[in-house]
């Protein structure tokens, strides 16, 4: 990393941001198996729905918008636990917290990478699930757009929970407990955007609110996450 003393502070901050970004991306691509897990989970749960409910395509089409969204939410929730866990174990989280750059900015970089390796693939995979659950044609576009915005918001919110539970042994279940209520608005507007489109109504209102939720979570989450990390690290 560039020595922070030599460079002017803004430059050093930007460098640190980029360093965290590339480091996390590299790490993620060296553990491609971990990256694939949420996706496999996503597809497998989609297989459970016809098995558990009905393979009849008319009824599946009714369930599809909500089910795909619930499954994407759960997949994102499962992956949120790993956001800080490895860094906490090997001590690099402590190093990040000690660095002269603002922690929220470095945290933001980590969240962005987390979205790039979980939320974005989930979004790209979602049309396949739409086909599997016989989602009506009109729903595909809004499904992708709503998941694109929504999974980013989920990553932002999940990061707060991950930071709060990172120091707790077996914190995964607790993480889902504390984060799920906060996920609910995203789910409501995400699923209804798709549902509205299927019903032939313009989903732009729901999508706009989803965008607003994303903007709001971008505003709050990095700071809350950084604060929570400091609590987790220093007690």
């Amino acid at each position: 990393m560039a020595s922070p003393d030599a460079a002017p502070p803004e430059l050093a901050t930007a460098t640190a941001f980029r360093a965290v970004l590339t480091r996390d991306l590299t790490l993620a691509f060296r553990h491609r198996g971990d990256m694939a897990n949420p996706l496999i989970f996503f597809v497998m749960v989609a297989t459970l729905v016809p098995l558990g409910v009905t393979p009849e395509s008319g009824q599946l089409a009714l369930l599809a918008p909500g089910m795909i969204w619930v499954m994407a939410l759960l997949a994102s929730l499962l992956s949120a636990e790993t956001l800080f866990l490895a860094d906490h174990r090997d001590g690099s989280l402590e190093q990040l917290a000690l660095s002269p750059q603002p922690l929220w900015l470095l945290v933001l970089a980590k969240i962005i990478v987390h979205w790039l390796v979980t939320g974005l693939p989930l979004t790209l995979l979602s049309p396949l699930l739409g086909v599997m659950l016989s989602l009506p044609q009109a729903g595909f576009g809004p499904l992708v757009v709503s998941l694109l915005l929504g999974t980013a918001a989920l990553s932002m919110i999940g990061a707060i929970g991950a930071a709060l539970t990172v120091a707790i042994p077996r914190g995964g279940l607790l993480l889902s407990l504390i984060v799920m209520p906060l996920y609910m608005p995203v789910l409501i507007f995400g699923a209804s955007a798709v549902q509205l489109a299927v019903d032939g109504i313009s989903p732009s209102g729901a999508l706009a609110i989803l965008g607003a939720l994303l903007a709001f979570s971008c505003l709050i989450s990095p700071f809350a996450t950084a604060g929570a990390l400091r609590v987790s690290l220093h007690g």
């Binding site: 504390i178 209520p181 906060l182 409501i188 709050i220 809350a224 929570a228 987790s232 007690g235």
Partner: protein, 254 residues
Amino acid sequence: MARTRPLLPEWFHRLGSPKGFYQMTSSWMPWLAVTAAVLLLVGTVWGLGFAPQDAKQGNSFRIIYIHVPAAFLALAGYYVMAAAGAIGLVWKMKLAHMVMKAAAPLGAALTLISLVTGSLWGKPTWGTYWVWDARITSMLVLFFLYLGVIALHYAYTNGEAASKASAVLALVGTANIPIIYKSVDWWYTLHQPATIKLTQAPSMHPDMFYPLLVMIAGFYCFYALVLLLNTRSEILHRERRTRWVLDMAEGGRS
């Protein structure tokens, strides 16, 4: 606490120290207890025994005298908890963390009471115990938020980290409560089932309304009483090794 603030009166600083708070509130307790008991007793007898029957719902509407005050305080309690958490985080006030810890189970219990009474009320009114109505769903989410704060608090073994972490969570929850409420509202208008008609709370007859007011006031006093009791026992627990607690325990009186 690091710097003196001449703006604030001396009693405020006394409130900020656990010892001062404990001693100051000792004299409040009997008053609060008596007021809460009288208000709750009067409200219950008046509401259950003397308020007129509802034209449509008969006697079953009387559960409102428990349901509405509990729901009021379940919501207000979350803000009490979050405000205490914020004060604890910003001013590093130990007492605020204790109030927050005391407020969480109390609020969760009130939320549960309002959910249970609501569902019992739903059976004779709507013919079912559970309806995915916007208000019921929001209360359920509120209950989950409380449970999250409590669970997070108990998961930490280090007391101070537990306080701070649950304070952060309570604050994040506060920012989300209006959003959750609005979105649940919106969701409900989108999915509103046509079969169930909610009885809109119309302008209540004064004979029904005054006992409700008394009950709400009684619940507020009761809430304050239990919050203080919880906080005081938390103070004693955390300060159990200090001189003043030991003195009090040996002396047998405060």
